[in-house]
Amino acid sequence: MRWTVFTIAAWITLGLEWGLRDALQLGDVRIAPSFVFVLVVFISLWARQTAAMGACLILGAVVDLLGQLPTSDGTDVVVLGPHALGYLLAGYTVLTLRALMFRRNIISLAFLVLLTGVLAQILVTFLLGVRTVYDNVLFDQPLVELGQRLGSALYSAVLAIPFGAALNVIRPIFGFEADTRRGFRIQ
């Protein structure tokens, strides 16, 4: 994978996530799709194992650093870790399953976004929920929060169809090994 291309793609995707996500929010409920998570699954589907894990950790850590949680003293804090670990788990699951999937099919991407999104969000909710037991971070009721996060995972799977199609179009410039490797040919 070309890391320069990944960096530019990540920058644009984070811009979409941070700037455009609220326009796609479902009414006043805190359910919105994640562009970054679709990129995580896309990279995990095509990149080599070490590159995929590294990309998942970087993107997850950036999402953690961008997102803040309010505290009972009126300030906001950054909690580094939940999304990084959640995205890592998602990436690992995709790496395990990708041999069984039709990678070029956009439905496979959407299915993996849903499946791994659910796993990642359960882990994120668990870690943040545990922290609220002894810390002053303000967190919604864990079940309500989990419901909203699972809703977002489902919504991200829907977003994965158009956004994943766009990523598939530009896939050659990422320089994934699967694209650059020459296939078996009989002459």
Partner: protein, 297 residues
């Protein structure tokens, strides 16, 4: 010769352990992470998320009322009327405050007043999960924690600045259920002109808290006070726990008055006139101090 560089597996395990630690250690230990890394990261992200936020506002505008920014004579008159009304209400509120101050001074309480400056700031992102919004003005532009965000072209209170980075700041929105302090004291305006400070003090008051659907809710308004409230009336902030720059700003309009299980109380729901999370830009009321404030471009 033995390998000196750690294997990828070892590096990954160490990273995972470090992330588990930062996820679970209390805020007092991990606060430095946000202070060190978030500012530079936001400086990198803001140039791309800013235009996306603009696109977001265009796709899904947050304003429920016609914009006062229009250049028609009618809009100009409405703008002048609203500004005059806010100033007038603030004067009445100030009279009340000064009366209280006279009482305080007689008791020997120290008097301080905070002047403020106004700066326009553009939204560069929203955190739906955190109930916050990021803007493109930070420490370098003189923004401080506790500055008040007001919707541009309106008197609608948007929120309070809770975090300031070098180039960006975070505003906690009034509609988020985790707003601290969670209760907002509001006063319901009357239809006619409020003659004096005593009339302002006599208006029905209520304590609002953010609900789950973007509304502000007062769960226990006495039936006598509720009888003086009418759907459609404007509610303004009259809360001593908020900075003085926020006083008499608009919280929203009453959209519903509902019965509760308690016959002596009613539930009042207030909807902000503008959706705070979807604004293109806000006006910051920044308390003035010793810090050097750069001129806004």
């Amino acid at each position: 010769m033995p390998r000196r560089t750690p294997s990828a597996r070892l590096l990954l395990s160490a990273t995972v352990l470090a992330l588990v630690a930062t996820s679970l250690l209390p805020t007092s230990v991990t606060r430095w992470i946000g202070e060190w890394f978030r500012g530079p990261l936001m400086t990198i992200i803001a140039p791309i998320s800013g235009p996306m936020s603009g696109l977001s506002t265009w796709l899904r505008p947050g304003e429920r009322l016609p914009s006062r920014d229009a250049d028609t004579p009618q809009a100009e008159l409405i703008r002048q009327r609203d500004d005059a009304e806010l100033r007038y209400l603030r004067v009445l509120d100030r009279v009340q405050e000064l009366e209280a101050l006279v009482r305080d001074l007689q008791r020997g309480v120290l008097y301080t007043e905070t002047p403020f400056v106004r700066r326009e700031a553009r939204r560069v992102g929203s955190n739906i999960a955190g109930g916050t919004m990021d803007i493109d003005r930070g420490k370098r532009h003189g923004v401080r924690e506790g500055s008040i965000a007001i919707a541009r072209g309106s008197d609608q209170l948007v929120g309070i600045v809770t975090r300031v980075e070098p180039m960006t700041s975070t505003i906690h929105l009034i509609t988020d259920i985790r707003l601290e302090p969670p209760l907002l004291d509001g006063v319901v305006m009357s239809e006619g002109r409020i003659e004096d400070a005593a009339a302002l003090a006599d208006l029905p008051q209520l304590q609002l808290e953010p609900g789950r659907d973007g509304l502000l809710v007062s769960e226990s308004v006495g039936v006598n006070a509720a009888e003086r409230m009418v759907v459609g009336r404007q509610v303004r902030l009259m809360d001593d726990s908020w900075p003085s720059t926020a006083r008499m700003l608009v919280l929203g309009r009453i959209v519903r008055i509902e019965e509760t299980e308690e016959p002596l109380f009613k539930r009042v729901l207030v909807q902000p006139e503008i959706e705070p999370a979807r604004l293109r830009s806000v006006i910051l009321a920044i308390p003035e101090g010793d810090d050097q404030v750069e001129a806004a471009p």
